[in-house]
């Protein structure tokens, strides 16, 4: 169907992630998904946060915006609302998205602008060299938690479900095929979609390794009993497995996106508008103030 190849989405810069970093698979998976979906690199924007994960936009051949820590979602929403013709993919780390960016995440879920958010969740702050992250398992030992963390970890799927996200999925860097499949589905979803990727940090996380995930993950996509249109059921399944599930957890295909729901929001990209104001419009406005 498409003539594009994943290689076309290879950016100008060579990745500098550590060997065996889970983020490589996210990059190649996203490139594959983009090719499969026949995305136009010139109409695609990859917006990233700050962290090892945030470097993704450097390596992807498309428009890229590498913003500030925790604010990838408002940046991405601003871009999408400015030009709804663009495919906007936001990406970042667990610290970026669920730590400092928690409020943006919460409200991004419920605002439901048509963007896809990929979180490379390695349960640790990678780029700053190994502090505990909000998704770190309780008791995880790091330089900032030498005796182990004291807090319950954030459960991103549960949070997204509670915050009203219309598409919630989880995949694993160790299994690229489902990653590509789910990312494609997320991009196609009209509205906000979350793909939380277990993406092992080979350097600072010796607990949540590829092997560990391979042992612990339960694939809900393979479970015909899982009703992914039922939010309460989705929550129950996530809780049941302590968050260690993969697949499309929840999906509401009918929910209108923010662009569709916002009264008066035009079909044409705002970025393409003629900015001149008509004489009548102006007169009408002035009439209020004479």
């Amino acid at each position: 169907m498409t003539t594009r190849t994943a290689a076309e989405f290879k950016g100008p810069v060579r990745p500098t992630w550590c060997p065996a970093c889970g983020d490589y698979a996210v990059l190649t998976g996203l490139q594959k998904a983009a090719a499969d979906l026949d995305l136009d690199p010139d109409r695609t924007v990859v917006v990233t946060g700050i962290g090892c994960s945030g470097k993704l936009s450097s390596y992807f051949n498309a428009y890229g915006f590498h913003g500030i820590h925790g604010r990838v979602l408002p940046l991405a929403q601003g871009i999408k609302l400015a030009n709804r013709d663009l495919t906007v993919i936001a990406a970042g780390g667990d610290g970026d998205g669920y730590g400092i960016g928690g409020n943006q995440f919460l409200h991004g879920c419920r605002r439901n602008v048509d963007i896809t958010y990929i979180v490379m969740d390695n349960h640790v702050y990678g780029l700053t060299k190994g502090q505990a992250s909000p998704t770190s398992d309780k008791g995880f030992k790091t330089v900032t938690s030498p005796e182990g963390t004291a807090e319950e970890p954030v459960n991103p799927l549960l949070l997204a479900l509670a915050a009203g996200a219309g598409f919630v999925a989880q995949v694993f860097s160790g299994r690229v095929e489902p990653l590509v499949r789910v990312v494609k589905r997320a991009i196609r979803h009209r509205g906000f979609s979350l793909v939380n990727v277990f993406s092992p940090c080979a350097t600072f996380n010796r607990v949540n390794t590829y092997d560990w995930y391979n042992e612990h993950l339960v694939d809900l996509d393979a479970d015909p009993a899982h009703d992914r249109t039922d939010r309460a059921a989705a929550m129950a399944r996530v809780l049941e497995h302590g968050g260690l599930v993969t697949g499309v957890i929840y999906e509401d295909p009918d929910r209108p996106s923010f662009e569709e729901a916002l009264p008066g929001f035009p079909r044409e990209p705002l970025a393409s508008l003629d900015l001149r104001l008509g004489r009548e419009a102006w007169e009408e406005i002035l009439a209020e103030y004479v």
Binding site: S57, L86, P266, V290
Partner: protein
């Protein structure tokens, strides 16, 4: 200054917030405006929803009044607190019309006339005691001899929707007020209330005054106003939002905060009609980053906030500066620090607008002084932001943002949209339309892949530091934008050489930028013994003080600074060189503009400060008093430049504003 001298009338209505103070004041102000007067109207309101003392002041004249003035000629008091709260402003001979339902504490009166009017009873008679404000309105109009129709029409507009009965009652209340006024003897009325001769009615070109301007009345009082001829009555916030709209702002993201919220609510009413969108975000961080995202994607985008929210935007400003993304951020300053005085005015964020955020990056800071400025500088802000690809900040303040003023018409036609350097000279075509305009500088139609030799370079080193932007959607314009240091192609680098050049490129964009044309306004003697310098909403008060000083035989001038950064040093220095002493008037406690001047232009030995930081708008008399003080003292040529301690607030910096209490009272109204 008395009424004979300045030929204005200052009227106010005060009562508990929620008693209809605002609507009464607004109707009264707008009526005077429509009758051809120049009107300045300001609400003083507490930070609570219902209750608490609120005053709506209306100052009107045949010449362009642009501040509240020092004096209140008439106060309509619906409660005793209104009298207490406004006592300092009540001039000798001022009239206090109060509801007969209470007995004012008249012991500290200062030669004012108290008139008890049974406002509540009259309202009750008209059908509902809550309409005492409407009775007050009728009374005020009647005393001034204003035509009933104007007020009846206003009530009709207001209550039209609510159906006949409420409107009928309100009209009855209005008439009770007019009737009460008719009982006053004409002499008594004339002694206290005389509105200067009316100018031309609204809609006409010139509010031509029949009064001969003299003394403190501005020389151009009788001149035709500029603009497209339609006189408007509106606030700085409204004008600013209109300017943004006229300039092509099509995306606004914001979080509510007093006194900036009106900008958002105004745009939410008007933007969608022009194809734009407003998003109320979860916080100010999201607001500004969403605007930056939109600006990057090619829409003219804005956010507005006040102190606390502005502080939250600091990190993102730095991102806009580093990524060279255009965005307009408005800070309508209020009393600080912290939550401070959320409903009172102040100008204490100047430092933050220029120096807030980490690292060195280009930004532009404009500071409107009038609604006209709000309109035109907002429009200009978008051009500067896109031409120089950097954040542009607009520092407004509560007094400017919320006060409503008669202005001489805002001309949408004067707004030119300059979108700055775009590859292909255009924004991306919609997906539906055929791609167009993709050729252009940067080899976008060349074979080089972005980032490869021959490919497009977002941050190409150029003569003036400005590199043409490719907006997402532009074929072959792909590049990385990053808050990390980067090379010409946009890719992250730590190379010291590239880093240094990029810093020079970014900061160099402002090098040639001389904002003195839009950023300075000078009025008065070319070689003044005293030069008054101000910024923001104090413009009107300084103007009046200057005219009063000039009328008193002083050679004075007034320089208003509307571009704070880059500072128009050369032009300012030229003016300063010719001035004797310089009095910097501002509403903050540490003399932030004075500090900026010392830093950018020097002249420390000539500078004096007139500071005010009590939340109340600056009044001409306060400036006058401080100016007289300085002029009375000898010049001190051998003085050391004032150091920080001298710039800090000293009780002496606050001119005595409150007239001494005392004197006899009169009861001029009998039932």
């Amino acid at each position: 200054m008395d009424r004979q001298t300045d030929q204005t009338l200052s009227w106010a209505v005060g009562g508990q917030s929620g008693e209809g103070i605002d609507s009464t004041g607004e109707i009264f102000a707008r009526a005077l405006h429509r009758l051809g007067y120049h009107v300045y109207a300001f609400r003083n309101f507490p930070s609570r929803i219902k209750g608490g003392q609120a005053t709506y002041t209306v100052r009107a004249a045949a010449w362009p009044v642009r501040c509240e003035g020092d004096r209140l000629d008439v106060l309509v008091a619906l409660d005793p607190e209104s009298i207490a709260d406004n006592r300092d402003r009540l001039a000798a001979g001022a009239l206090v019309v109060h509801d007969a339902a209470f007995q004012p504490d008249a012991t500290t009166g200062n030669g004012m006339c108290f008139a008890a009017v049974p406002l509540t009873d009259l309202a009750k008679a008209a059908g509902n005691p809550i309409m005492k404000n409407v009775v007050a309105l009728g009374l005020s109009a009647g005393l001034l001899g204003l035509p009933r129709e104007v007020f009846a029409a206003a009530l009709e507009r207001k209550f039209g929707r609510k159906g006949g009965r409420v409107l009928e009652q309100n009209l009855a209340a209005l008439d009770k007020g007019f009737a009460a006024a008719a009982q006053w003897s004409p002499e008594l009325r004339g002694a206290v209330l005389r509105l200067p001769p009316a100018a031309a009615p609204a809609g006409d070109v010139a509010p031509a005054s029949s009064a001969t301007p003299s003394g403190p009345v501005p020389a151009d009082a009788a001149q035709a106003p500029a603009g497209d001829g339609r006189r408007l009555f509106l606030s700085g916030n409204e004008a600013l939002a209109m300017g943004a709209l006229a300039a092509g702002c099509r995306f606004y993201a914001g979080y509510p905060i007093t006194p900036a919220t009106e900008i958002m609510t105004w745009l939410i009413r008007h933007l969608p009609r022009c194809g734009g969108a407003v998003v109320q975000t979860e916080d100010e961080i999201a607001a500004v980053t969403m605007a930056i995202g939109a600006g990057y994607a090619g829409v003219r985008a804005m956010t507005a906030t006040s102190g606390p929210g502005f502080s939250l935007m600091m990190e993102a400003l730095s991102l806009a500066g580093m990524t060279e993304t255009p965005v307009v951020v408005v800070d309508v300053q209020r009393g600080g620090p912290s939550t401070g005085l959320p409903t009172k005015t102040e100008q204490a964020n100047l430092n933050e607008t220029i120096y807030g955020s980490h690292g060195d990056f280009p930004r532009i800071v404009l500071a409107p002084a009038t609604p006209e400025d709000c309109f035109h500088l907002a429009a200009e802000a978008f051009n500067l932001a896109e031409r120089l690809q950097c954040p542009v900040l607009i520092a407004s303040d509560l007094a400017l943002g919320l006060a409503k003023q008669s202005v001489a018409g805002l001309d949408c036609g004067r707004v030119h949209i300059e979108r700055g350097a775009l590859v292909g000279g255009t924004t991306p075509a919609p997906r539906a339309a055929p791609a167009a305009g993709t050729a252009g500088p940067g080899g976008l139609d060349g074979p080089g892949r972005p980032g490869e030799p021959g490919g497009y370079k977002r941050y190409r080193f150029t003569e003036d530091g400005v590199s043409p932007r490719a907006l997402p959607g532009q074929p072959n314009g792909r590049h990385l934008v990053t808050g990390d240091e980067h090379d010409e192609a946009g890719n992250i680098t730590e190379d010291p050489e590239t880093r240094a050049r990029m810093m020079e490129k970014r900061l160099g964009k402002l090098r040639g930028l001389d904002l003195s044309a839009i950023g300075l306004r000078y009025e008065g003697a070319p070689e003044p013994e005293l030069l008054l310098v101000g910024w923001g909403s104090t413009h009107g008060a300084i103007s009046e003080a200057r005219r009063a000083l000039a009328a008193g035989g002083r050679t004075v001038a007034h320089l208003h600074v509307k571009a704070l950064h880059p500072f128009p040093t050369a032009a300012v220095a030229e003016r300063f060189q010719r001035a004797g002493r310089i009095l910097v008037v501002e509403q903050n406690a540490t003399g932030q503009l004075a500090g900026l001047i010392r830093r950018e232009a020097g002249f420390a030995e000539k500078l004096e400060s007139c500071l005010k930081y009590d939340g109340v708008p600056m009044r001409p008399g306060e400036i006058l008093a401080r100016a007289e003080e300085i002029l009375a003292a000898r010049p001190r040529p051998g003085d050391r430049p004032p150091t920080r301690p001298a710039a800090r607030p000293r009780p002496g910096d606050r001119p005595p504003t409150r007239p001494a209490a005392g004197a006899a009272l009169q009861e001029v109204w009998r039932r």
